[in-house]
Amino acid sequence: KFRHSTTASLPQHGDRGFPFAAAAAAAGQAPPRPLPAAAMRFMLLFSRQGKLRLQKCYVPLSDKEKKKITRELVQTVLARKPKMCSFLEWRDLKIVYKRYASLYFCCAIEDQDNELITLEIIHRYVELLDKYFGSVCELDIIFNFEKAYFILDEFLLGGEVQETSKKNVLKAIEQADLL
């Protein structure tokens, strides 16, 4: 993005920082590595009661960070009012979320990314789940969460959209299921 040129060099999105950050990291002071970031950073599914149902990270995060992120986001998203925007700013990321019945689907993307298409990614995933389970409900995901992961891995791989054709994704899943 274009910004004012300024005498003060303020931190901006995408600032990489000095490589000595790596040194600091080696000394255990900072998070493991400056992110080799995929488009999507992570995806969370949680219920209206705030119970986590699925958690997929596309950037390396420690268990502690994962827990903290989940706690923060569940809280923030559940506090949002229904008429509000489906996007929110969180740290330097954008959170895109949508509620389907009792489940919230929640993705973290970069600020420059396209929020609307991320909403459609969520929707496509729900469609895939629906097709696979046959009118999916939260229970299906609770008791077969590994299946939900398998489907997700065929659709999004390493944080990028892998296959957008519904038919192809389900074909791949069924093939693996049959064996």
Binding site: A8, L10, P11, R16, G17, F18, P19, F20, A21, A23, A24, A26, A27, P32, R33, A37, A38, S47, L54, Q55, P60, D63, K67, T70, K81, C85, L88, E89, Y100, A101, S102, N114, E115, L116, I117, L119, E120, I121, D130, G134, S135, V136, C137, E138, L139, D140, I142, F143, N144, F145, E146, Y149, D153, G158, Q162, T164, S165, N168, Q175, A176
Partner: protein
């Protein structure tokens, strides 16, 4: 969708008793009886967090027993693994199961393997050590004939894979690009994408295969390859311009509905693909008219086609608008895009409105009239209930700020800031306010008050540049001296008022700013005596909530004021209190003050009034202490070692397991767990720009170095100290900027009482105050214009400096492109070996440089000297005429020609290395010996070529080198010659290695021969070697640099003045690269990282940082003498050129 799902968890217990109505497939039912089912049900039935914890701990311990029991079958293991994943997801530690997940992936049948791989991808992260155990399994599965196994392996590789093991699977994955199944090809491309992300240089050589993937007949594979292209084009768009046509064609086909229907999404053809392509085009067309022209048509069509009223078409439209505004502008398209933005902004749907604002923010600088068009919507958004809408609106306003509307906009930003608690938002907004205030402040009072608000709210989380820049601005002043004094006076007055208030706590950073300003500029006050200011500072000093760092600032301020004060009761009391302080730092400051206080004359000369901008000459080497040190040493004192060195030694004495492989290793993480030795490295830094050395700053605030990257803990990346418990409860300073803003506009509660029409009027009013200056008279270049008109706080001279820096850097560009060439031969043997293949492009580059060589301007370049000194001859490699540049220039040709032709006889072997010119070392009437050096990667190769000048045959010619104390000299095979024919040349090669570092050394030897079996002769010679002959570039990554940096104990720092021609950092580094064979790892802004090694493998790292014409060099190495030596060489180079 939403009508399908109406069963919620609250209904859960009841549901278990019935059959699921029309529920999922058999798998779902089976799980009801499974252990997971009972676990989930158990947890759901619980009411408290405590009970849940108990149950899960129980579950985990039973799982632990099961997974480690030898009787557990793989099938049971799979079931356990699912439960482990579940527990881990709930936030409990299941790390004991990680190894079993890997085992399951290794040993299980397909279904079990699948769960094993899934568990691995969920449990482990890229740098987890257990991941190495997976590599074998992955390799095996990649070679499997079973499609599903191959897919599983590729899926896991695309998610997590240890970076250092990429070479183990890379060939297998490359093979998969030719696989007959598209799903395998697609996953292989994504795996390579992953590799490109984590280790770009490992996949550099397969770029051609990416092109193949782009042309794949399967849409999915092609789409996957776009991820890689988007990434690569982001990094370097110029390298892929030739693909623009292909991308345009693909997009045309997609938009035209040429893809199979299965790729449609809600009857929109392949939206993800479209968006990806639009992004790529945006990057390619940026600032490039010719490339942009290729895409106008297809963008037009995209805008036209996307008319369906569905979210996904809006997503495409948004991307399209973004692209249209990114590339070289075309008015027709811009018009259409602007219309699109209107659709977004005016949409009743809040998501679309948000994106409309986002788009406006992006385009506003090109087209400020758009903001005018939508001003009423923007005003509405400013008071929107959803904070993210407000936030984006502020971002938009930030970009249209000018001298006329700044007060209103900053007011709005501050309002938002006071409501926000999130640290990230505070840091970001505070930075923007400070930037705007500095640029467009209407008057002194406003500026100081705004900055007060910034410091109060931003407190200790804001970027350290903000207070630093502010102080610099005050100190350096602007063009008008009286104006400067007024600003300073205002600041002083304002701070005194703030300090008068009772029970108000200010952030530490704010107090530091205050104390510096008060210390420097209190003299401007007429009535207030320095004593009164000192009394206020003293009160703060006695306050327990003030940090000791701030106290150092405070006491520095007191010290400055003491020399101006007449009576000094408070100072004496202060000295009395703090000379017995438990804080050693404070005690030190107090003693310094005490001694200065006793000698008023000295104090006045040491602390002159208002001289903060004058440069202070610091004897960084502390040479005035030499006598003292020498005396100490002579009396048997131990030589000084920096703290980290002592620590190193202590650590090395402790018996710890050495995890490092012997010799040099760069992939190690052996130091990760240890306290950073860099933390204390500043012990050797005496230049004194650390904030704690308050007293040192009194004479001159060292402003160039003010962006503190290095501090007590080593590198300080905008550290956000968590100590700011006060920051939450901070009251706004009394003199809020509210006064500046029309009350009617801002008071919300008031507006509620008012009638509808009045509300409207207010909005109009606000609009006019916000969008002032955006009218038609300034449509073309709004911001640029405003800048020139009203840059109130324009700094002196800085701009000019930057400009001159720029010109020199462009001048040096030619130089650096040239030098990169000169490095080709020795630096990158791979490069030169493949030169033939890469053909055209490289040749063009070479011919270009040969032109350069011809032109006279070259004589000015420092490089020419280098050229005459070492001939980079690779004649055998290049048949092309262009290559004549590699021969030594004409000037030295006469004397060198003969030798170089001699040398060429055995150059076959050594062509890729750089070598020196031949130099005659001894001769008589029969023979002549000349020698030259070849700087091979692993050693120094000395070549002595012996020419038999006589017409007679020489027998048993032998060359011997005397053993030298610092060197290990090894004779290369085939050196003793039984017969040497008349008028021939033979060469003897010796590889030389260092045994002990030295600075200057000699290699002596003799040549002996027999003439006609009787007469024997011997001739002695000697050659000078310098340590530089054994310095080689060390190619490591920035990460490795960081790790190594911490592990080295010996460091040396020095500031070197750069000569005029070196003014830009890149060119200075290039010079170092050429002359000293240092490898440039990375240049970031005004800092650079370099590395080299002393053969065989002693690394030395160099961190450079440039400000003005000073280059700060900082060496570190594991060898104690190397940094000193290299520093000396660097100085020589920098001064010499």
């Amino acid at each position: 969708m939403s009508d399908i799902v109406e069963k919620t968890l609250t209904a859960l217990p009841g549901l278990f008793l019935q059959n699921q109505p029309g529920g999922g497939p058999a798998a779902a039912k089976a799980s009801f009886s499974s252990r997971l089912g009972s676990l989930v049900r158990g947890i759901t039935a619980l009411t408290s967090k405590h009970e849940e914890e108990k149950l899960i701990q129980q579950e985990l311990s039973s799982l632990k027993a099961t997974v480690s029991a030898p009787t557990t079958t793989l099938k049971m293991m799979k079931e356990c693994m699912v439960r482990l994943i579940y527990c881990e997801m709930l936030g409990y530690d299941a790390s004991f199961g990680y190894i079993h997940a890997i085992k399951l992936a290794q040993q299980g049948n397909l279904l079990e393997k699948r769960v094993g791989y899934l568990a691995v991808s969920l449990f482990l992260h890229e740098s987890h050590e257990l991941l190495l155990l997976l590599v074998n399994t992955v390799v095996k599965d990649l070679q499997s004939t079973n499609l599903v196994e191959v897919c599983m392996a590729l899926t896991v590789v695309s998610q997590i894979f240890p970076r250092e093991m990429i070479p183990a699977v890379l060939p297998l994955i490359e093979d998969k690009l030719q696989h007959s199944k598209e799903i395998v090809r697609r996953k292989a491309v994504l795996a390579l994408y992953k590799f490109h992300l984590i280790a770009p240089n490992q996949v550099q050589h397969i770029h051609i295969k990416f092109r193949k993937a782009l042309c794949d007949r399967d849409v999915g594979v092609m789409a996957a390859s776009l991820h890689i292209y988007l990434r690569m084009i982001k990094e370097n768009s110029s390298g892929y311009k030739d693909l623009t046509g292909s991308f345009v064609t693909i997009l045309k086909q997609v938009v035209g509905g040429k893809l199979p229907v299965e790729f449609n999404y809600h009857s929109v053809p392949a939206p993800w693909l479209q968006i990806q392509l639009l992004r790529i085009l945006g990057l390619l067309g940026k600032d490039d008219q010719r490339t942009s022209e290729l895409m106008y048509d297809v963008l037009d069509e995209s805008l036209r086609r996307a008319e369906l009223n569905h979210n996904v078409t809006y997503a495409i439209l948004f991307e399209c608008v973004h692209t249209v505004y990114s590339i070289y502008p075309k008015s027709e398209l811009l018009e259409k895009a602007a219309k699109c933005i209107g659709k977004f902004v005016l949409s009743p749907k809040i998501n679309l409105k948000y994106l409309g604002l986002k788009a406006l923010t992006y385009v506003i600088q090109q087209d400020p009239t758009l903001a005018l068009q939508h001003q009423m919507t923007i005003i509405e958004c400013l008071d929107h209930l959803d904070p993210i809408i407000k936030r984006e609106t502020l971002e938009l306003l930030y970009r249209i700020t000018n001298a006329q509307n700044i007060t209103v906009i900053v007011q709005k930003m501050l309002e938002y800031l006071h409501q926000s608690k999130e640290e990230y938002v505070i840091v970001n907004l505070v930075g923007k306010i400070a930037e705007l205030a500095e640029k467009y402040a209407p008057d002194n009072a406003w500026f100081i008050q705004t900055m007060n608000a910034v410091f109060s709210v931003g407190g200790d989380v804001m970027h350290p540049d903000i207070p630093n820049n502010f102080l610099r601005l005050l100190a350096e002043g602007f063009d008008d001296e009286t104006e400067d004094q007024q600003l300073r006076l205002y600041a002083v007055q304002s701070y005194l008022t703030l300090l008068d208030m009772e029970n108000v706590f200010y952030p530490q950073r704010f107090l530091q700013v205050m104390s510096w300003v008060l210390g420097e500029y209190s003299y401007l006050l007429d009535k207030e005596m320095p004593e009164e200011v000192i009394a206020k500072l003293y009160k703060l000093l006695m306050n327990d909530s003030v940090s000791s760092e701030t106290k150092a600032w405070l006491i520095a301020a007191v010290t400055k004021l003491t020399s101006q004060a007449h009576s000094s009761n408070t100072v004496e009391r202060l000295i009395h209190e703090f000379t017995i302080s438990l804080d050693t730092c404070m005690r030190q400051h107090a003693f310094e003050l005490k001694h200065l206080h006793e000698n008023v004359e000295l104090m006045k000369s040491l602390l002159p009034v208002d001289r903060s901008c004058e440069d202070l000459v610091v004897d960084a080497s502390l040479s005035f202490l030499d006598g003292f040190v020498a005396e100490g040493l002579s009396q048997g004192a131990a030589p000084y070692k920096p703290h980290h060195q002592r620590q190193e030694e202590k650590l090395s004495q402790e018996k710890v397991l050495n995890f490092e492989p012997y010799g040099l290793s760069f992939s190690s993480s052996g130091f990760t767990g240890r306290q950073s030795p860099a933390g204390i490295s500043l012990g050797s830094d005496v230049s004194g720009n650390s904030a704690e050395t308050g007293l040192k700053e009194t004479n001159s605030l060292k402003l160039e170095g003010i962006k503190k990257l290095w501090g007590k803990e080593g590198y300080l990346p905008k550290k956000e100290s968590k100590t700011g418990d006060e920051s939450g409860a901070l009251p706004v300073p009394q003199e809020s900027i509210m006064e500046n803003v029309d009350q009617a506009i801002t008071k919300k509660d008031q507006s509620q009482v008012l009638t509808q029409s009045k509300e409207e009027k207010e909005k109009q009013l606000l609009a006019s105050s916000l969008f002032v200056g955006l009218g038609s008279e300034s449509t073309i270049n709004l911001l640029g214009k405003a800048d020139t008109v009203s840059h109130k706080f324009r700094r002196k001279s800085k701009v000019k400096e930057a400009k001159s820096g720029e010109t020199t850097s462009t001048h040096n560009m030619t130089c650096s492109s040239f030098s990169s060439l000169s490095n080709v031969a020795y630096e990158d043997d791979y490069y030169s070996n493949t030169l033939h293949d890469t053909g055209d492009k490289e040749l063009k580059k070479f011919s270009l440089s040969s032109e350069l060589l011809d032109s006279e301007s070259l004589t000015e370049l420092p490089l020419v000297e280098k050229f005459s000194y070492c001939s980079l001859s690779t004649p055998s490699l290049f048949a092309n005429n262009n290559m004549e540049i590699f021969h030594p220039p004409q000037s030295t040709a006469a004397s060198v020609a003969k030798e170089s032709s001699l040398a060429s006889s055995f150059l076959e072997e050594t062509t890729e290395y750089m070598h020196s010119n031949a130099m005659e070392v001894c001769n008589n009437e029969t023979i002549s010996v000349s020698s030259y050096k070849i700087w091979k990667d692993d050693c120094l190769l000395m070549v002595w070529s012996v020419t038999n000048k006589s017409g007679l045959e020489l027998k048993s010619a032998d060359l011997e080198i005397f053993p030298a104390e610092n060197f290990k000299v090894t004779e290369q095979p085939g050196c003793c010659l039984p017969v040497m024919e008349a008028e021939s040349t033979k060469s003897f090669q010796y590889s030389v290695q260092i045994e002990k570092p030295f600075t200057e050394g000699n290699l002596t030897g003799f040549i002996s021969y027999h003439m006609m079996d009787t007469h024997s002769a011997q001739l002695e010679f000697s050659v000078n070697l310098s340590l530089l002959d054994f310095i080689r570039p060390l190619k490591i990554s920035s990460d490795d640099f960081g790790k190594l940096w911490l592990s080295f104990a010996n460091d040396v720092k020095q500031n070197v003045k750069m000569s005029e021609s070196q003014a830009a950092l890149p060119s200075a580094l290039k010079t170092l690269q050429q002359k000293l064979r240092l490898h440039i790892i990375e240049i970031i802004g005004n800092e650079g990282l370099l590395a080299c090694q002393l053969l065989p493998s002693i690394p030395c790292l160099l961190h450079c940082r440039v400000h003005a014409d000073i280059l700060a060099l900082w060496f570190r190495s594991s060898c104690s003498t190397l940094p000193d030596y290299l520093l000396y060489q660097c100085q020589k180079v920098m001064e010499g050129s």
